[in-house]
């Protein structure tokens, strides 16, 4: 461009200046876009009638670290206290139990379901990273760890989400592995050993402390699922998941009553014994529908495993939109499961000793019914406070047909009533 006095270079200079100021502005000053942070703080209060009470404060953090890139962190504190059924059934005499190492004993009055007292604290931390790979694929990597006085767990997981049809269809596949180690206070019981044969150790071992080593188990889980947008108002998700655990799967604190074949009176107990592997599978379906203002979430799961347990679970949330951003959300959940093959409420002393046996009610024929209500209230421009109160009931066959003699006088499957209360604050900034 010949710069004789008259030529105008103003346009070219203006463009060069824009180049300098334009791009340089973006490089040095990231656009502070809102909603990069989401923080959820919540406390769960779970309390069973005269059994265990759990207070569980949790802190969730989700930070957007780039386009479709997120960092998630979950910090969980768990304090459990109260009593838990040890597996033995109520009977017509008082009952005393000794811990596997024989160092602690506790007694239960006649006619009452034996419970053992415990309290424990647990801290768990999970970290997750979400990374996009092009517009259609997202990977999630996660690590987690959980520590309590007698239990430790570490694990990692990865999930792939692949979009099709302009994100109308999403295929999710995931894998996770966990390693847990349990070191029960009171020692690791010998499965199926009769409590009467447990010998209290000589005092000398006292100060060396209760804990005599521990056991471990590892778990592998895989999931494959499809999420499909059906209409402007509806989407559905369908997952198949499979999980395999192997190693020490027993509950070290659980025993099973041994009763006299004719009178049905409890004569002894055995530490429970479960198989050392478990293959779990489930089909899960979720359907979400947006009515003119309200939203319905319905989920159904069919579960089955090689312990002989099958379970149907249905879960329904109906969210009523109130004024502004507040809402009321009733919740209904029903789950019915069949007993594990080796579940028995008790064993007959004359019968041959089975390889595996457990009286843990959670492995029995069980129906869980939960209903509750959640209230959500807006806080400021984009934050929210919510309160949820629910009631949960677990019932089983209290008077099974195969009960013998005195057993018929007692409730062999006491109903559990629990209250669930949760307050949560969700902050976005």
């Amino acid at each position: 461009m010949q710069l004789n006095a008259g030529t105008s270079i103003r346009g070219a200079l203006a463009l060069a200046t824009c180049t300098l100021l334009g791009t340089s502005l973006q490089d040095s000053r990231a656009d502070a876009s809102a909603d990069d942070w989401r923080v959820d703080g919540g406390v769960l209060y779970y309390s069973e009638q005269d059994r265990v009470t759990v207070v569980e404060p949790v802190f969730f953090l989700r930070k957007k670290t780039g386009e479709d890139r997120y960092f998630n962190a979950r910090l969980i504190f768990d304090t459990m206290s109260g009593a838990s059924a040890n597996g033995a059934t109520a009977t017509n005499t008082a009952q005393t139990f000794t811990s596997p190492s024989g160092t602690t004993t506790y007694t239960t009055p006649a006619g009452e379901t034996p419970l053992y007292k415990f309290s424990d604290e647990r801290v768990a931390l999970a970290l997750e990273w979400e990374r996009p790979f092009g517009r259609e694929r997202q990977m999630v990597y996660g690590i987690n760890a959980s520590v309590e006085s007698d239990y430790m767990s570490v694990g990692l997981s990865t999930m792939l989400l692949q979009n099709f049809n302009d994100k109308l269809t999403t295929l999710t596949t995931g894998l996770s592995a966990n390693y847990d180690s349990v070191s029960p206070d009171g020692g690791v019981p010998v499965p199926m050993q009769l409590l009467s044969t447990v010998v209290a150790p000589p005092p000398a071992d006292e100060e060396e402390g209760e804990d005599e080593g521990g056991e471990s188990k590892s778990t592998l889980d895989a999931i494959i699922g499809v999420t499909q947008v059906l209409t402007r108002r509806a989407l559905t998700q369908f997952n198949y998941s499979i999980g395999f655990s192997s190693g020490y799967l027993n509950d070290p604190y659980k025993v099973i009553s041994v009763v006299d074949g004719s009178t049905g009176a409890t004569v002894d107990y055995r530490f429970e014994s479960r198989p050392d592997s478990r293959l779990r599978q489930s089909l899960y379906w979720k359907y979400v529908y947006h009515l003119p203002r309200d939203v319905v979430h319905f989920a159904y799961r069919y579960y089955w495993d090689d312990w002989g347990i099958t379970a149907h679970t249905a879960d329904l949330h109906y969210r009523f939109e109130l004024f502004g951003r507040s809402y009321l959300q009733p919740h209904l959940r029903y789950s019915a499961q069949t007993a594990a093959d080796f579940y028995h409420h008790s064993l007959v002393n004359t019968a041959p000793v089975p390889a595996h046996a457990s009286a843990d009610y959670r492995l029995g024929d069980l129906a869980t019914t939960t209903y509750g209500l959640k209230l959500g209230l807006p806080v400021g421009k984009s934050s929210e406070f919510s309160l949820r109160v629910e009631s949960m009931k677990q019932t089983g066959d209290s008077y099974p047909a195969d009960a013998i003699g005195v057993q018929r006088n007692f409730d062999l499957f006491p109903t559990i009533n629990a209250t669930i209360a949760q307050i949560t604050y969700t902050g976005r900034f």
Binding site: Y46, S84, G155, S157, W285, T368
Partner: protein, 72 residues
């Protein structure tokens, strides 16, 4: 798969086939809402999974991973 299960699967698919017309990107206003996400409240979902994991034998289905616990 037991027969009962097959019936359940077919029923589900039947339900979803009704209106599968394409949903344009600009028709996803409702689907973009927070309450329409598959897990609208991660805290509640996590706590529920923890309760039922430790109070029932069945577990999982919705997602994977997450620390076990000696919950008893």
């Amino acid at each position: 798969m037991p027969v009962r299960l097959l019936i359940v699967t077919v029923a589900m698919f039947g339900l979803t086939a009704c209106t599968l017309g394409p949903v344009h990107p600009w028709d996803r206003d409702l689907l973009a809402e927070e309450k329409m996400q598959l897990v609208p409240d991660a805290v509640e979902n996590f706590l529920d999974e923890h309760i039922y994991f430790s109070k029932e034998a069945a577990s999982g289905g919705q997602g994977i991973g997450g620390g076990g616990c000696g919950c008893n």
